[in-house]
Symmetry: C2
Subunit: 351 residues, 2 copies
């Protein structure tokens, strides 16, 4: 019997949660009841979703009773505890934390790339990939279907909002401190001396780039760089994919960019690659450098697709393409992909 | 007979020229007379070098009479005409433009990498490489001597001053326009609507990154990306080196950064690579991510060396290293390397 599923949004008051409520309000009417859940200190707050005020409830096992799908956008350690509780109470948990992404019993899903993976979820949990991986994987999935991906070399240009609202506030604050001083940025450490080291970044971000995101892992790799490697492999179903990523934070508020060198199993062609990308769902090709048409983060922030430009066949390797991509890390990189996964699950109730 | 050579600095009033006068003032006393040359509209202006005021002379054939070494930092089309005139009058021309870099009869020199190339100069001209290539090539030269370089994949984070004083002024101006508005950077085109499109960049640079530098070449490549490929090959003496570069402008005043994936002819080792870099002249290793030690452009701007950090052996290729490098594009990337080449030539007079 067809019915509209009940949805719970856990972490409704956060940066990604806020974007999620916008997305739920503007898309077709998929759900019956929508419950908003947050930490006890946000309980009682009223938020608007689908034009109606909803009172935020405190996270507790009982809030999941009668819930069919529960989206989680909370820290890893909160998801680790509460996504299994939601699943135990009968909900399908769609989790945007890193807690379960590499769990072999939890699918890691990008609806344009591996929708069928969402069907097998022995723990009742589906994971949403990391925002940096999501900013490129839809475009790379389309190219992989064409030529078979063998290797990726990725350099990222990651936005401040990847570090949450604190990241956004820190960058705005640093820019306010340096604006109007036309000497800064010309002597070692002069920006650091003015903006200090407050906030989530290990070095000043205004008038600077910072080659670090996440925590330190073996071999000098950052956790963010390993996520790009491991999650790309899992989503594409290519456990042997060669991946080298260098993740760098740049002074952009929202939208991650990536320079990608992708090596395939067979010879590629620039025009054909452009045609594949232009036709791929969830991808927009913006690639006419003669007219200065290429994606930049400010030109695409707030939009849903992955934007791809600067498509070139490598001069020294007929099997390799070089690309520049932009994707909104709060939308496709987080809330939008979570919403898309939840809608995949919702079709099980309505069809 | 040993004597101190006479030096002419052509383009003494520009952004790189200004840094050059600083460098000439702080280094050991290499030259006899120093003549400062610029366009007719700057003639008569007084500039200070080595603590003394020098009157700027207008560019004319006669100013090169008696000159032993002439440094050029002027646009390509000016160098194309005037460097041969200086050479004809007996000077060795050291040219920082792109006019002669790929000329087979003009050596392209980085003193730490290929000093001997400066000796064979049939046209009396030596070229100084492009700033982006210079920001990485000293470090890569050291690693190449150890393991033999086979392939480079490069993504750049290039500073505004790579587009000259106009680039610097444009970025400062854009930051002044966006500072204090904590809504900007969150909706497509909102920064463009505030800062407009004045200046040398094809898209806003504040709160943005722009995947374009230079002019359009075949296959969608930018001239800047081809310079990285072609100049790296020439400097390293590796005409078959595989190179893919994506050049991106970032909102940094001065100092280019690069994420480099370098593949070698034999197996590499992270600790050994760090040791090679730490011992290399002109290179500083800054690589202890546990203590958040890695180079950032603001931490190294105004210094001479190439700074290298984030040294990692690729997880999926034992012959590949991933690195993050920073180099001041006005110093090593332009004035300093030109000064070093001129000093190589000067030793021919004094030894």
């Amino acid at each position: 019997m067809s019915r509209k599923p009940t949805l719970a949004v856990v972490g409704a008051t956060g940066a990604v949660g806020t974007v999620m409520l916008d997305i739920l309000s503007t898309r077709e009417d998929v759900y019956g009841e929508i419950r908003l859940i947050a930490s006890p200190r946000s309980a009682g707050k009223k938020l608007t979703v689908r034009g109606e005020e909803v009172v935020v409830q405190a996270l507790a096992p009982e809030v999941f009773d009668g819930v069919d799908i529960a989206m989680f956008d909370v820290p890893d350690e909160v998801s680790a505890v509460w996504a299994p509780i939601a699943a135990e109470r009968g909900a399908v948990a769609v989790d945007n934390s890193g807690a379960f992404r590499m769990d072999p019993d939890v699918p890691l899903v990008v609806p344009e790339v591996n929708p069928d993976a969402a069907k097998a979820r022995p723990k009742g949990i589906i994971s949403n990939p990391n925002c940096t991986t999501l900013s490129m994987i839809v475009a790379l999935g389309a190219l992989h279907r064409q030529w078979g991906l063998a290797e990726l070399v990725v350099a990222s240009y990651q936005a401040a909002s990847g570090a949450g609202q604190e990241g956004i506030d820190t960058l705005y604050s640093q820019i306010e401190k340096i604006a109007g001083n036309r000497e800064l940025g010309q002597r070692a450490g002069d920006v650091r001396a003015v903006v200090g080291t407050e906030g989530p970044f290990p070095a000043p971000l205004a008038l600077n780039v910072v080659p670090w995101a996440g925590s330190l892992k073996d071999g000098g790799w950052s956790s963010e760089e390993l996520k790009v490697r491991n999650e790309s492999r899992k989503i594409l179903g290519l456990p042997g994919l060669k991946v080298s990523a260098t993740c760098v934070r740049v002074p952009v508020i929202t939208t991650h960019s990536l320079a990608v060198h992708a090596v395939f199993g067979s010879e590629v062609d620039q025009r054909e690659a452009q045609a594949v990308l232009a036709a791929a769902p969830g991808v927009v090709l913006s690639d006419n450098p003669e007219a200065y048409e290429f994606p930049t983060p400010n030109d695409v922030v707030g939009t849903d697709p992955t934007w791809v430009g600067r498509v070139r066949r490598s001069l020294d390797d007929p099997k390799a393409l070089d690309l520049f991509l932009c994707g909104d890390n709060l939308r496709k990189g987080a809330a939008l992909n979570t919403a898309q996964i939840a809608e995949l699950v919702a079709t099980e109730f309505t069809s």
